[in-house]
């Protein structure tokens, strides 16, 4: 998009800068400054202290190792699934394609409960194996590296699946056709034509996965065993009341994620690829011809989908199980509707769902609008340095653990400030939508950016030469082409915000009490069934919004 007239460009620049200043720069400067203070003056003492601690250093390397392994595993699961469901048509494809995104709808807190009931050492799977093989002891324990990576892969592969899927929908099938007609074999086509076109999507997915894994807290807490990662060290330091150390470890965590971002970008720069003018070829699903391949794809689809759906099914089961009755049996022995009637008769039940829905919708839509500003601006920037700085700043909130984002916003806007005057954000309804926006807008920006980079610049150019205004070009050319990516990213942000817990718990107020807090309360009282029932209703809402979004996406894709 070369010729953006000055006036819209200045507006975009202004909006982008204001949001970054208020949401990212100002709140985080304080964090960095505190980490560089010791006994009241500037000093690197906190960093030196950290370097001298064996466990803290071990945690840094463990975190990196866990994250790299997570990215690799998620790519190995997510990309083949995306290919299977996006490229081939076989019986039940649509159902399986939707099921494959299921881990997205598994809300945190109850998601982990379901996972424990399913895969834990006293879970359904372990008991089935134990009974079948007549073992004395449980066949495995859900602790350590294996458990952690299993859970990470399960919850994070959707980044690859969703983004690679959206990428596949955008790529130019004409190129592959041309390649094929020139005699290229399928593997050569894959590596020379399809994957290069997918690179922006895969890099976006890899980066999001890496950062999510770095900032992951619940999984190592619950399944990590003796695997010590940086987020746990931060938590421990905070519980000790050692704020300077907690902040220093936070800065290091963020720095690692941002260095990863720079590395990824470097690679991205060398593999930039714009689809040619989308001539001729509307992408189509290749029906799998021969009976055996068709059957194979069907079976793979069934196995993957069942495997991925099991935790959700477990959650459903727990929500109907009578609390306290399920101890040594493989499946719950007694069922009841009491869990649902219990929460639905509470006056607050409706409110928490409404709160979560409205706050997530506000945050996701704001993120969508803002992403268009950022991405459009970024594409008109001529200097690479400023482009990189922009995407760096945008990704900072994603690189930080949720608690840190919440705390820094609460600290910055908890009293009258330079930037907001006498308005105090803390204690109002709006603090959570703002935090959700900040935490999850990087998802939307990355997804949209990946889409926009695949658009052939000659298309808007052609529209321009035909006399279309900037707005017309945007509305009629760019938006339809970037639509699938934008909707996928926005949906991802919306769904994740719906179940958000770690930041919410620090700053929510009674008027915006989200679902996750209600779930946590039930868990504290050991009402596992009621917690699961909340989770099931939340999941149903998420599933519904995904179906709506899939409709939108289908109608929006060219």
């Amino acid at each position: 998009m070369p010729s953006l007239r000055p006036s819209p460009r200045w507006i975009l620049l202004l909006i982008t800068l204001v949001v970054l200043l208020y949401g990212v720069v100002y709140p985080n400067v304080d964090t960095i400054a505190t980490s560089l203070h010791h006994d009241g003056h500037w000093s690197p003492a906190n960093y030196l202290a950290l370097l001298s601690q064996r466990l803290a250093l071990e945690a840094v390397f463990t975190s990196i190792g866990v994250s790299v392994a997570t990215v690799i595993l998620c790519a190995l699961v997510g990309i083949p699934l995306a290919f299977l469901f996006e490229r081939y048509s076989f019986p039940g494809r649509n159902v399986f394609a939707t099921l494959a995104a299921l881990p997205l709808v598994l809300p945190p807190l109850v998601g982990t409960v379901a996972f424990i009931f399913l895969c834990g050492e006293s879970g359904i799977l372990a008991r089935v194996v134990q009974r079948a093989l007549h073992l004395q002891e449980p066949p495995w324990s859900l602790r350590g590296w294996g458990a952690l990576l299993l859970f990470h892969t399960y919850t994070m592969y959707p980044f690859f699946y969703v983004l690679a899927g959206a990428g596949l929908r955008r790529i130019d099938a004409g190129l592959a056709e041309a390649g094929r007609s020139l005699g290229a074999r399928p593997l050569r086509l894959l590596f020379k034509i399809v994957l290069p076109q997918l690179t922006p999507s895969l890099i976006a997915a890899g980066l999001l996965t890496f950062m999510t894994s770095m900032a992951s807290f619940s999984a190592p807490l619950l399944f990590g065993g003796n695997v010590r990662v940086l987020t746990l060290e931060i938590f421990t330091a905070r519980q000790r009341g050692d704020q300077p150390m907690a902040l220093t470890e936070t800065v290091i965590l963020a720095a690692i994620s941002l260095v990863a971002l720079l590395l990824f970008q470097r690679y991205e720069g060398t593999r930039k690829f714009a689809a040619a003018a989308m001539k001729g070829a509307a992408r189509r699903y290749r029906p799998l011809g021969t009976g055996s391949t068709r059957l194979l794809a069907f079976i793979v689809g069934v196995i993957c989908s069942v495997g991925l759906a099991l935790p959700v099914a477990t959650l459903l089961l727990v929500s109907f199980a009578r609390d306290g009755q399920w101890t040594t049996q493989t499946l719950p022995p007694a069922y009841t509707l009491a869990n649902y009637s219990r929460i639905l008769t509470q006056r607050s039940a409706g409110e928490v769902f409404l709160n979560s829905l409205s706050m997530s919708a506000i945050a996701a839509l704001a993120a969508l609008l803002w992403s268009f500003c950022v991405v459009t601006l970024s594409m008109t920037m001529k200097r690479r340095v400023s482009r990189r700085l922009l995407s760096l700043l945008v990704l900072v909130p994603w690189a930080l653990p949720g608690t840190v984002v919440a705390v820094s916003i609460a600290e910055a806007y908890g009293e009258p400030s330079l930037l907001l005057g006498s308005f105090i954000l803390v204690g109002t309804f709006w603090i959570l939508p703002v935090i959700y926006f900040l935490r999850f807008m990087p998802l939307v920006v990355r997804a949209l950016q990946a889409s926009m980079e695949q658009i052939d610049p000659s298309l808007p150019e052609a529209a321009g030469s035909l006399g279309a205004t900037w707005w017309q070009r945007f509305w009629r050319v760019t938006l339809p082409l970037a639509g699938p990516g934008a909707i996928a990213g926005t949906l991802l942000a919306f769904v994740i915000a719906l179940g958000e817990y770690v930041a919410s718990v620090l700053v929510f107020v009674p008027t915006n009490r989200p679902v996750s807090i209600a779930i946590a309360s039930e868990l504290r009282d050991f009402n596992l069934g009621s917690a699961a029932a909340y989770g099931v209703i939340l999941m149903a809402m998420i599933a519904l919004s995904m179906i709506v979004a899939a409709r939108l996406e289908r109608s929006a894709s060219v």
Binding site: L221, G414, E522
Partner: protein, 362 residues
């Protein structure tokens, strides 16, 4: 080829516009709902309570309070007690909450030392022992929770269950013990603290206590992330023995129907006091005092005992009205709470870096 494509494009822009309208409509409806929900402010009195108590107990007392004071809008923020401490600390320049109902007295004392609590002397101030209140009236005890040894009553008979702290170190419990991660848990901090303090008292150094924790570590099957998971794993026999508090163990056994039982350690057990306090600078301090008094009347305390397994601290309660198990005698382990509070973090840090998870490797 040309015609269908044109049509498709026309369809695209229509559905595009449709999508846009839909998104906008959602946003507008949402904003409307938000405006409506924040608009209902009919009550004349307001009260915001921070509490870790679960929904069962809260719903009961808030409903009773509202019946007695219909003019008051009671709002509750239900989060863990250490999260409450962090929140009140963060809000110190502009307090939001009025009343803090529920946390171990060690947490309250930390908050009091940080100057986060207001002084208030309840009408029943002289009805609690000196150990269950702050000398400067910043917090008062409501319920007390002795710590106990919990076991799975299907997997372990009463005869073989450990009776005292040192019994859990027996090699026959190797890989059978579940311990809740002590770092974020007041209960576990107190139990570990009591072990270390015993060592300091007897030998002048924490070394013997660390040894005890090291031997415990060899028997530990898992350090669980929180109390709920710990109880669940105990009920499902991932382990057989745990250390936890008596009221919870009772509640899990009788109300939730889990196969658990407990022994009160014969050599004595530390007793944590659960407290209540008014936030310093509370926006609705009068209302907070009213609720404070309301949930600490002898009548309310008896209800909490009968329905929610809370052992009252007040000494002027007719003990016959309490469930019989609350009247069973047990030995209290005297503890220097100040030492525990000031050094507890260091002990835990040592445990975390040098002891945790190392026993099983040897």
């Amino acid at each position: 080829m040309h015609l269908p494509r044109k049509e498709r494009h026309a369809g695209d822009s229509r559905s595009q516009a449709g999508a846009g309208t839909l998104l906008l409509a959602t946003l507008l409806i949402t904003l409307l709902l938000v405006a409506c929900s924040s608009g209902k402010q009919s009550a004349t009195h307001h009260l915001l309570i921070y509490t870790p108590h679960g929904p069962d107990l809260l719903v009961h007392f808030v409903a009773r309070y509202k019946a007695a004071h219909p003019e008051t809008e009671v709002q509750v923020l239900d989060i863990g007690s250490r999260q409450i401490l962090e929140r009140i600390r963060a809000e110190r320049n502009r307090p939001q909450g009025d009343l803090w109902w529920g946390a171990a007295h060690t947490t309250f004392q930390t908050a009091a030392d940080d100057n986060l609590l207001a002084t208030y002397r309840p009408t029943w101030a002289d009805k609690v022992p000196a150990s269950a209140r702050d000398s400067q009236d910043r917090w008062y005890g409501t319920y007390e929770t002795p710590e106990v040894i919990v076991y799975n009553s299907d997997g372990v008979t009463a005869a073989e269950a450990p009776r005292d702290w040192d019994d859990v170190l027996d090699p026959k419990w190797r890989d059978k013990i579940l311990i809740r991660n002590p770092i974020p848990s007041d209960t576990m901090r107190v139990i570990f603290g009591a072990i270390i303090w015993r060592s300091i008292k007897d030998t002048g150094s924490p070394e013997k206590g660390y040894d005890w924790l090291r031997r415990l570590d060899t028997n530990v099957h898992e350090y669980t992330a929180d109390g709920t998971f710990m109880m669940q794993k105990l009920a499902r026999r991932e382990g057989l023995i745990s250390l936890w508090d008596m009221p919870d163990a009772r509640l899990f056994k009788e109300q939730k129907g889990l196969p658990v039982a407990y022994n009160i350690p014969t050599s004595g057990t530390p007793v944590v006091t659960e407290g209540i306090a008014i936030v310093r600078g509370a926006p609705h301090e009068d209302e907070a005092r009213r609720f404070y008094e309301f949930v600490t009347t002898t009548e309310s305390l008896v209800q909490a005992a009968q329905k929610f397994y809370r052992m009252p601290v007040r000494t002027d309660i007719d003990r016959k009205q309490l469930p019989p198990w609350m009247n069973e005698p047990f030995t209290r382990l005297p503890l220097d709470w100040d030492v525990l509070r000031q050094q507890g973090d260091d002990w835990l840090r040592y445990w975390d870096t040098e002891i945790r998870g190392r026993g099983s490797r040897h």
